[in-house]
Symmetry: C2
Subunit: 341 residues, 2 copies
């Protein structure tokens, strides 16, 4: 039964509870004969130390929290999977929380986790909750996932995708295909990934002396619908761009849906590219050229950093940028061979 305690074992093995505890955690040396006897009893009655009692003593729970805006988002789920495996291998449990990007819910979820005395936290902070993180990081090890907060507020561990480089690479690739007139659906400018990717992309353009005019830039919120709207807006002008680029996967879906709905041929009428992973992308009506973020690496790395930090609170803060990867598709028309516009 699951209700066996250290006392039951002690009684049955004819030793004191202290000895049982020592055998379980093999701390101090205990006489081999005694140890063997205790171990036998333990497996006989199926004793299993109560993690809560143990946790109370040590003020540890052997659980870590994972707070993200949308746990059903492919990116965070894949990361979660890798993370969970990493943690489970170290006997930590993962408590997941989905906040829907809601500040108040984030707060209350967090309160719940804190009361549970989680040993660490991996969080994709929602917009405008930066103060929370600062406060938190004084109480327990925190690893920021994907979204940074301003470094003057917080300097701690961070694991994310190298948005600048990835977007830069994407920009270079788009240019190499001969495109000069680009329509961009970018992410919010209060999310670090939003500005990073934007900066990386336009840097690539600027290096070629190309400037992205305001009307070619549309702000989205990383959700699918804003991709749809952005694409619509970019098309509804006298002279649309030769390519549309969406800066995350959900907006990419939205934009593609819009293009398809309107019967715009890709890449015949207009080209397309996007940032972020699209599962089974070769099965879409057109295989989009995109940037893979390797979310599994992101997850396992976050786990690794957190484990390290929990072992040593004083360790130097780390910032790990997971490299991106260009996955070529056939959604970009090559204008490079013929002369440009």
């Amino acid at each position: 039964m699951g209700k066996a305690t250290v006392h039951d074992v002690a009684r049955r093995a004819g030793v004191s509870i202290a000895t049982v505890s020592r055998v379980v955690n093999n701390k101090c040396r205990v006489e081999p004969g005694t140890a063997a006897r205790v171990k036998r009893v333990i497996s006989e009655i199926g004793y299993r130390p109560d993690a809560m009692a143990r946790g109370m003593r040590h003020n540890r729970s052997y659980a870590v929290g994972y707070i993200v805006s949308d746990i059903a988002n492919v990116h965070f789920m894949v990361a979660a999977k890798a993370l969970e495996e990493m943690l489970a291998a170290n006997d930590f449990s993962l408590i997941v929380c989905s906040t829907g990007g809601d500040k108040a819910r984030e707060r209350s979820q967090l309160d719940l986790l804190l009361s549970k005395k989680i040993d660490g936290l991996i969080i994709n902070v929602s917009v405008h909750n930066d103060g929370l993180v600062v406060e938190l990081s004084r109480q327990l090890p925190v690893v920021l996932l994907s979204r940074k907060v301003p470094s003057d507020l917080f300097q701690g561990d961070f694991v994310g995708n190298d948005g600048f480089r990835g977007a830069y690479e994407l920009g270079r690739h788009v240019l190499s295909m001969g495109h000069r007139d680009i329509g961009l659906i970018r992410g919010p400018d209060n999310i670090s990934t939003g500005t990073e990717r934007f900066n990386g992309f336009v840097t690539a353009l600027r290096e070629k002396g190309i400037d992205l005019p305001q009307p070619r830039i549309h702000f989205g919120d990383y959700y699918q619908e804003s991709g749809w709207n952005g694409a619509g807006a970019l098309l509804d002008v006298r002279r649309p761009p030769s390519i549309i680029v969406a800066m995350n996967n959900a907006m990419a879906y939205g934009a593609l849906a819009c293009l398809r709905m309107r019967g715009v041929a890709i890449p015949g009428d207009i080209s397309f590219a996007s940032y972020g992973d699209i599962p089974n992308r070769e099965l879409l009506f057109i295989t989009p050229t995109c940037i893979s973020q390797n979310p599994d690496q992101e997850g396992s790395m976050a786990g690794e950093i957190l484990l390290r930090r929990m072992k040593d609170r004083g360790a130097r803060p780390m910032t790990v940028l997971i490299p991106s990867q260009l996955l070529p598709g056939d959604s970009i028309r090559n204008l490079a061979s013929k002369s440009k516009k």
Copy 2:
């Protein structure tokens, strides 16, 4: 600080710890004046009851476990999201575990959860671990998700998709489109959903006097590659069927990839249909006709049932079947107008 205890509050408010506890849980009546004072102190020093200590007293953790084979699977992650929301609204946390279908890992994950004294468990039991569930359900409330175990072993709560009806409906639809020669990629027969869906489908056929010959049936393991192989095998015969039906979403992806790779036109050369949800399916190269399982309903219902069961261990076991839904696509050629085969 997070280190404030009930003693700190008591001292500062000039009352005993018992009174503080009473105020926090507003159990017995306590004089309004005193209560107010205590409450003020609580918010002043930011006291927050330690869930572990509390849990130890009550032998509850206010956490439930969620064990699935693959947490990155769309179906389970959508269910997880709904589940998490339902639980969070009731102040429960969700601990997720991914087992990769490995029996030993399932066992050890479970041990970890049990030592954490979880209050309940929602589990998608892996194949051949039925005994485990039986043993478990004696220790704590358990809700089976998606996969049943034989009812002579276990009679407890179950939430899943109505595989028989869904597949039956799919079969009817396929027939109504005029198809008579059907190739099936079915799931394993040691997984309840595998046999249920199969039975539902062939029942529909049998009602029309159609019998599915052995060579038209291929066994898959619910993973993508087996869908690819199944489709390949069904095509590699002198006279392939007029339609291929895959019995879960991952195998559907595999089969579609195979068909596309071989340049088989859908539904021109061959038709296609499948069981299970395919996100953004209207963006695939062909919009597959499929059965939606409403995994979000599955998740929230599982949460509901578990909450109910945790309140009342003696409640009658429930079996809830989430209804499926046919989502028509354009992957099935209509042979019905012209005469049949």
